[in-house]
């Protein structure tokens, strides 16, 4: 344990850099954090490594602190849109969110917004059945913007409390696909004031520096309200969310901790920081 005991020397800072880098915090963010820690340690004349831990947990905790309560509109439906690169966990996370809201007694409606990939609609349909919620869908190849126009109307007509929408996986480097996403966003927004109230970007915890570029490009396409850090049940520590918060001020809303419908939890900065510094 790096903070177990002993004095603070250059070796301490080198080892700390390695812990952060190996957790995918990223090079620039790591250098910045270590520099900030150095300054604090000097300012407070800290000598013991154990005291340095508290200081670092404070710095990270402040940076990662959960944003204010997530947006909920005065009038239902609350509209949540999930976006993210291919395979990052959007469809599975929607199932988990559906379950989460259904447990609270809310009337949930899903939108099978991935009209591109083979069996994407079928995948979400199975989850909708398991969660006990309804789903709006069209056949593969439908224009997703048109689908969302209908879906928002349906949600209002059916008096749904929560509308959760899926989108096809896409790389942020594909201009066409990012334009398509922007169009989906504008169609939802024009059709229902204030919607989508939440736009969640799924980020696979195994992702390295590229996650920052993903968050940046997606955020330029439509306003992200939070991240879902998925697959945190693996050995990856997901440190890249620190850089995303630091550079883009996008908070983590939830974490994915498995492949079952219950495997979703609100983001806990302290637990995350403790695991990161292991």
């Amino acid at each position: 344990d790096l903070f177990g005991g002993g004095e603070i020397d250059e070796e301490f800072y080198e080892e700390l850099e390695e812990i952060l880098v190996s957790g995918d915090v990223g090079v620039q963010t790591t250098l910045k954090l270590v520099e900030e820690l150095r300054e604090e340690i000097a300012a407070r004349r800290i000598r013991e490594r154990s005291e340095a831990r508290e200081l670092l947990e404070d710095i990270l905790g402040k940076l990662l602190q959960t944003a204010a309560e997530p947006v909920t509109p005065e009038q239902p439906p609350l509209v949540i849109l999930l976006v993210g690169v291919n395979g990052s966990g959007k469809t599975t996370s929607i199932a988990k969110l559906a379950h989460f809201y259904k447990q609270q007694g809310k009337k949930v409606l899903l939108v099978a917004g991935d009209t591109f990939r083979a069996a994407a609609v079928e995948q979400l349909e199975i989850w909708a059945k398991r969660a006990g919620v309804d789903i709006i869908k069209q056949q593969q190849g439908t224009d997703p913007a048109a689908l969302y126009f209908d879906a928002v109307n349906a949600a209002v007509a059916r008096k749904a409390d929560v509308l959760i929408g899926d989108t096809a996986g896409r790389l942020h480097t594909s201009d066409n696909l990012m334009d398509e996403l922007n169009k989906i966003y504008r169609v939802i927004n024009r059709n229902l004031e204030g919607a989508p109230h939440q736009v969640l970007l799924t980020v696979d915890a195994t992702t390295g520096h590229n996650a920052v570029a993903q968050a940046e490009k997606f955020n330029q396409t439509l306003p992200l309200t939070g991240l879902i850090l998925t697959k945190l049940d693996g050995t990856a520590r997901g440190g890249i969310v620190v850089g995303i918060r630091d550079q883009l001020d996008i908070p983590v809303s939830y974490i994915g901790t498995g492949e079952k419908i219950e495997d979703l939890a609100p983001f806990d900065p302290r637990a995350f920081t403790a695991a990161l510094l292991q």
Binding site: E18, V21, S22, G23, D24, G26, V27, Q28, V85, N86, G87, S88, G89, F116, R117, A118, A119, A120, E122, Q123, E125, I126, W127, R130, L171, H172, T173, S174, D204, A205, T206, T207, G208, H209, N210, A211, A213, K231, D233, G234, T235, A236, I240, E259
Partner: protein, 291 residues
């Protein structure tokens, strides 16, 4: 760019006649940061830097007008050498059908790559069979079935819930229908999931694949080594397919996994369509990693 940064670092050092340890450290630091920003594993970076240190600031560099570019060339050449491999084509066993098993973490691109591989092999005259052995993920069998149907590929699945039985039956079916090779799509799994890793071992024992290909997402960061080493230790990997290279990830995971496991990278995934499978080019990957 790295060349510019090194140029700045090294220009100050030229004409000094002899470099101090600190001077060399400064140049090595720039290279180290570039590789870490490319997501190369930090331990692999350490070893890499140590191995090129002497050459990277040797006579040929210091007598050059553009030492920065010279160093980058040395680094690029060494990366290319490490990434390359003699053994980058698929196994061609004497006994038919050939058997290729696809494994990897969740969402890495296995199912899509299975279809791509089948299309690729059919172009070279083979008659591949796709076997849907993922019975866990909702719609997984349906996904492979649809991909097969739209490409007119032979497909096998069972209304069964035992991946081992499905794979064995798929193999029998291929032999009966003279289909070759058999490509097994398996469920995504964590290397720390003992039960699911043991299942892979059982499929391997029963089917005896000629290739076990790990499908690895090119945007994977430091964890790539953990997963690859674990899959290799527990199941054995004969090759890697690096996916989603159509993005802008630097792809340092390629070097990490190659350096630590020695497994050759056999193909790259460069898009979502079934024709988006390309050979792996070590020199292109090296320049990409260096940024």
């Amino acid at each position: 760019s790295l060349a510019d940064k090194l140029q700045n670092t090294l220009r100050r050092l030229r004409g000094k006649g002899k470099l101090s340890e600190q001077d060399v450290d400064a140049a090595m630091r720039e290279i180290r940061l570039a590789l870490l920003e490319a997501d190369v594993n930090f331990k692999v970076v350490k070893e890499f830097i140590a191995s090129i240190r002497a050459r990277a600031v040797g006579e040929e560099v210091m007598s050059s007008l553009t030492p920065g570019q010279q160093v980058v060339k040395i680094v690029n050449d060494e990366l290319t050498r490490l990434l390359g491999s003699e053994n980058k084509s698929l196994a061609q066993p004497a006994k038919s059908p050939a058997k290729f098993m696809l494994v990897g973490l969740q969402g890495s691109g296995k199912t899509t790559s299975a279809a791509k591989l089948a299309v690729h092999l059919r172009r070279s005259g083979k008659k591949p069979l796709l076997v849907a052995a993922d019975i866990y993920r909702p719609g997984a069998v349906d996904q492979l079935k649809k991909l097969s149907a739209s490409e007119n590929l032979d497909f096998f699945s069972l209304e069964q819930s035992d991946p081992v039985a499905i794979c064995k039956a798929g193999l029998k079916f291929a032999a009966h229908e003279s289909l070759d090779p058999v490509i097994f799509d398996t469920a995504g799994r964590l290397h720390i999931d003992d039960e699911l890793m043991s299942e892979l071992g059982t499929i391997k024992d029963q089917v005896k694949p000629d290739e076990i290909l790990m499908i690895l997402d090119a945007m994977t960061g430091q964890d790539a080594v953990n997963a690859a080493v674990s899959f290799n230790d527990q199941v054995g990997i004969s090759g890697i397919i690096l996916t989603k290279l159509d993005g802008d990830t630097r792809g340092g995971a390629a070097l990490s996994v190659r350096a630590v496991t020695g497994c050759p990278i056999k193909f790259t995934g460069t898009g979502e369509k079934v024709d988006a499978l390309e050979p792996f080019y070590p020199d292109r990957m090296a320049s990409r990693i260096l940024g």
